[in-house]
């Protein structure tokens, strides 16, 4: 991992997230619509977006609340789903110096998407990470509020084909990183592992195990000098 220059980058980080808004807006609204349908009031729907700020965990919580689950089930599921963020933090900390208030802010804003654009375009720049994270935070919360207010009149993202945005966005972030055979092998193992485990485990656990397995095997492989096909 080569660190980029450490100065600046808040605006660049904020703008780097803009293409992903296409996917964030309908999913933020869909989360709110689901939450309202599950009987959660507007205030608590919004509080979850403001304080938890983790899309997958929020959707899971809505489903669990609708099913009558208790607080400990919600909290433990949230922990399991977000455990992968531990790895994100370690990777970010290895390349980007974050201290004090910036580190606390980054901890709140470190989502899949913020990690993705930071690794792809902003390594070594703490302000880039904060900008990217804040960009997502603002849009996610605006979409949540809009979804809560217009709950009865919005279509599902799947109905208009926008559920595809996130897999495509992560593919676009992945492609530039696959530079040689070792990274190709890591991507293949992680993809197959996540695909195979998705129907068996909680999504967060499946992703964490597939990632750890692929990175562990990849780290043991000899460094590749040949270009990936």
């Amino acid at each position: 991992m080569n660190a980029a220059p450490a100065a600046g980058g808040f605006g660049a980080g904020f703008r780097a997230m803009v293409p992903l808004w296409i996917g964030v807006v309908p999913f933020g609204a869909a989360y709110a619509v689901s939450a309202r349908a599950a009987g959660i009031d507007l205030l608590h729907t919004q509080l979850m977006s403001l304080f938890v700020f983790a899309g997958g965990a929020q959707f899971a919580a809505v489903g669990l609340i609708a099913a009558g689950a208790g607080p400990w089930t919600l909290i433990s599921t949230t922990f399991l789903l977000n455990l992968r963020h531990l790895l994100y933090g370690v990777v970010v900390a290895a390349t980007t110096e974050l201290r004090g208030g910036r580190r606390l802010l980054a901890a709140h804003l470190l989502t899949d998407e913020a990690f993705g654009v930071h690794v792809a375009h902003g390594r070594g720049r703490p302000a880039f990470l904060i900008g990217a994270g804040l960009s997502l935070f603002v849009v996610w919360n605006a979409a949540t509020l809009t979804g809560s207010l217009l709950a009865r009149s919005l279509p599902e993202p799947q109905a208009i084909g926008l559920d595809i945005v996130f897999p495509l966005a992560f593919l676009a972030l992945l492609v530039p990183l696959v530079r040689e055979r070792r990274t190709l092998a890591v991507a293949g193992i992680a993809g197959i592992g996540a695909w195979g485990l998705a129907g068996v485990l909680e999504p967060g656990a499946a992703l964490l195990i597939a990632t750890a397995l692929a990175a562990g095997i990849g780290a043991a492989l000899p460094a590749g000098s040949r270009e990936a096909p």
Partner: protein, 101 residues
């Protein structure tokens, strides 16, 4: 505060704690296998997010494969996330409209 408010705050604390825990670990000091492991994490995460996000969506169809091919070619050539994503989405929606799903 209601029980749901407390639950949301606990969910927030768990999420924040996990993220902060990672940021506090000394990844920069790692060498050898540990360092190579961290270097491989972004590739593994993105691949897992792509593959893990597919079950349950309409993404296993022909339209998805066409869109994925378009994104791969554009991003490999231009490194442009926005261009690749917009083109991929356009290809996907067009292919779906044409009945390739």
């Amino acid at each position: 505060m209601t029980p749901l408010t407390w639950t949301i705050l606990a969910m927030a604390a768990v999420t924040f704690g996990v993220r902060l825990w990672g940021l506090l670990l000394p990844g920069a000091q790692l060498r050898g296998y540990g360092r190579r492991f961290l270097d491989a994490v972004p590739v593994a995460v993105f691949a897992a997010l792509v593959a893990g996000g597919l079950p349950g969506t309409d993404a296993t169809d022909g339209a998805w494969r066409l869109a994925a091919a378009a994104v791969t070619v554009v991003v490999a050539r231009t490194r442009g996330l926005a261009a690749g994503l917009l083109l991929g989405l356009g290809v996907y929606l067009t292919a779906r409209a044409l009945g390739w799903a």
